[in-house]
């Protein structure tokens, strides 16, 4: 499968020359499966560019189908939906999986961002495409886009965010953004979800020093990410969801520190990639 990053920033888009290299758009990742299906993970502002890139394909003709995985409904993970061109083209079909007690509750949450107080779209009903909203049952694998997907909640401040594992053949990709572990790191169930993944994309918002000051916000430092990767024995760690105040040079430093943290934990064999807008990886 092929993974591409459209938005790698946390919390709020951070435009400006100092974020040109890694990018300032909020969370959005696409996964093209080996069989050619499209999975979109999170709908931050990066979704605008992903949507425009899909217009020359069947999505431009109203014949596109994609699976959307939503880690949680904080604004920086849903803001792009109203700017995703394919969702306005009748005939396109999206199945959106996220975390809520029921699919209708999840749909209500998405409706909330279309509320006319906030958006000229008024309601999801005004999107031309169909968006079929489904609630993920934690730990219970489901079939979508021809692959097996499993979601498990991670602690994220006062709420939770789903981590997703996508398995296709002998390859696996885990997306674990927006996570602030309790002392001791990932739960046994979550560690199991990460176990042996070909690639683990992990929240890497902070340096440990910044995280210490802001722990109640529920994000990871590069040490948390390196810990999780080393303990789960993954093939590659992908750093993601950088703090909005970090310039490209700060992320460069984060990358170097994370490499050292991996090595210190016996993770010399783990490849390390700092996610950047436009970067594409073959898993």
């Amino acid at each position: 499968m092929r993974v591409r990053f459209w938005g790698v920033r946390g919390s709020i888009p951070a435009p400006g020359p100092e974020t040109n290299r890694y990018g300032g758009n909020t969370s959005c990742v696409s996964v093209h499966t080996a069989s050619g299906e499209l999975i979109i993970i999170d709908m931050g502002t990066g979704l605008l560019s992903l949507g425009n890139s899909l217009l020359p394909t069947e999505f431009g003709k109203g014949a596109g189908k994609a699976t959307i995985l939503l880690s949680h409904a904080h604004w920086d993970h849903i803001q792009g939906l109203g700017f995703f061109a394919p969702v306005f083209i009748p005939g396109n079909q999206f199945v959106l999986w996220g975390h809520a007690k029921s699919s209708s509750l999840l749909e209500g949450i998405l409706e909330g961002q279309m509320n006319p107080n906030f958006s000229p779209l008024y309601t999801l009903r005004n999107l031309g495409a169909t968006v079929d909203v489904r609630a993920v049952i934690p730990g219970e694998p489901f079939e979508a886009a021809g692959v097996r997907i499993t979601g498990r909640p991670n602690p994220h401040g006062s709420t939770t965010a789903l981590a997703f594992r996508i398995d296709e053949g002998d390859r696996s990709f885990v997306y674990a953004s927006d996570v602030g572990y309790a002392p001791g790191g990932p739960s046994p169930e979550v560690l199991e979800l990460y176990r042996g993944a070909s690639a683990l994309l992990h929240d890497c918002t902070y340096t440990p020093e910044h995280q210490e000051k802001r722990r109640n916000r529920g994000f990871s430092s590069y040490e948390d990410a390196a810990d999780a990767a080393a303990r789960a024995g993954v093939g590659r760690l992908i750093m993601f969801h950088y703090d909005q105040d970090y310039a490209d040079t700060d992320v460069d430093a984060l990358h170097a520190s994370c490499r050292a943290a991996l090595d210190a934990r016996g993770g010399q064999a783990i490849e390390l990639t700092a996610a950047a807008e436009g970067l594409e990886l073959e898993i």
């Binding site: 709020i12 888009p13 020359p17 909330g112 958006s119 909005q244």
Partner: protein
């Protein structure tokens, strides 16, 4: 007074190389009367950096007072509020002004922006004292020495334009609005674009004409008119019901109101710096050829203008 632009973009923040010069942050303008607290117009993502800069002053010690005028609560005009540092410092006072809703108190609208599950920090947890003030069209009030007036615009769910008079100068902030010619935008979702140049129901035409007359009157003699010019004429013809104007629409209002400088603002998210340059130069050329007495500029992040008593200071 000084006027500084912190966010000039419409609809959605657009980071990236193609928008580095004009800037990718959404709507936020700071108006600073001489020697006085800032008056902030709109709270798009640009307000994040403004808030940080304010923390270098009395706001850092919880001794600051700010006034925030919100044109309307569409996301690109309020997204930055939860990232406005002065909110998190006890002792600061922030007054937020916006148009009164027919159904919901303003405070509830802003509270719902950050309630679970959309944002981790609820309004009730902010440490500054925040007071919400509901406005109706024509409201007039004073902020320190500044006189503020407002009038409504033609935009879905209705936006407000503001005029601020202080230090012997006047600025008008007019974003977001459609021209007042093809469709009346209020509380109804319009599915199909109306025909541009079509015949309007007389009652609708009258309401639009009155809205425009109110705006022109409010802009009369302003030193600076900041105007929503998100659309090219082609884009407007395709989407007249989205509630945005073209430079031509802004020119007409600027001419009739006799303003000194027209500032293009609320640039389309897809507009690159080069495309925005072309729009600016074409608009300037058009005005020069027509002998318009006002200057035309385009807003960009970091642009700072000194007006009135501040000029040359």
């Amino acid at each position: 007074m000084k006027v500084r632009f912190w966010g000039v973009r419409g609809s959605l923040p657009v980071p990236g190389r193609l928008t580095n010069r004009y800037g990718g942050n959404t709507s936020c303008v700071e108006v600073r009367p001489r020697g006085d607290w800032p008056i902030i117009i709109d709270a798009g993502t640009g307000i994040r950096r403004l808030g940080k800069s304010m923390m270098e002053s009395a706001f850092g010690d919880g001794r600051g007072t700010a006034h925030v005028l919100i044109s309307h609560t569409h996301w690109d005009h309020i997204q930055g509020l939860p990232f406005f540092s002065p909110f998190y410092q006890q002792g600061n006072r922030v007054h937020v002004f916006a148009r009164q809703r027919h159904d919901t108190h303003l405070q509830a609208v802003f509270a719902s922006q950050t309630e679970d599950p959309y944002f981790p920090v609820p309004l009730s947890a902010l440490r500054a004292e925040i007071e919400f003030h509901e406005l109706v069209e024509g409201s007039q009030f004073e902020i320190g020495r500044a006189k503020v007036t407002c009038t409504r615009l033609n935009h879905p769910w209705i936006a407000m334009a503001y005029r601020i008079d202080v230090d012997g100068a006047a600025i008008v902030y007019c974003s977001d609005t459609a021209p007042f010619s093809d469709v009346l935008l209020e509380h109804e979702f319009i599915r199909t674009p109306p025909q541009v140049g079509g015949v309007l129901d007389p009652a609708v035409a009258e309401k639009l004409a009155s809205m425009r007359a109110g705006l022109v009157a409010m802009c009369r003699g302003a030193d600076l008119l900041i105007y929503d010019t998100q659309f090219t004429p082609e884009e407007y013809r395709a989407r007249p019901h989205w509630g945005h104007s073209t430079p031509d629409d802004a020119i007409h209002v600027a001419r009739e109101a006799g303003v000194k400088t027209l500032c293009l603002y609320h640039h389309a998210p897809t507009r690159t710096d080069e495309q925005q340059d072309v729009i600016l130069h074409a608009t300037q050329e058009l005005c020069r050829t027509a002998g318009e007495p006002f200057e035309v500029i385009a807003a960009y992040e970091g642009l700072e203008l000194a007006l009135g008593d501040e000029e040359g200071a």
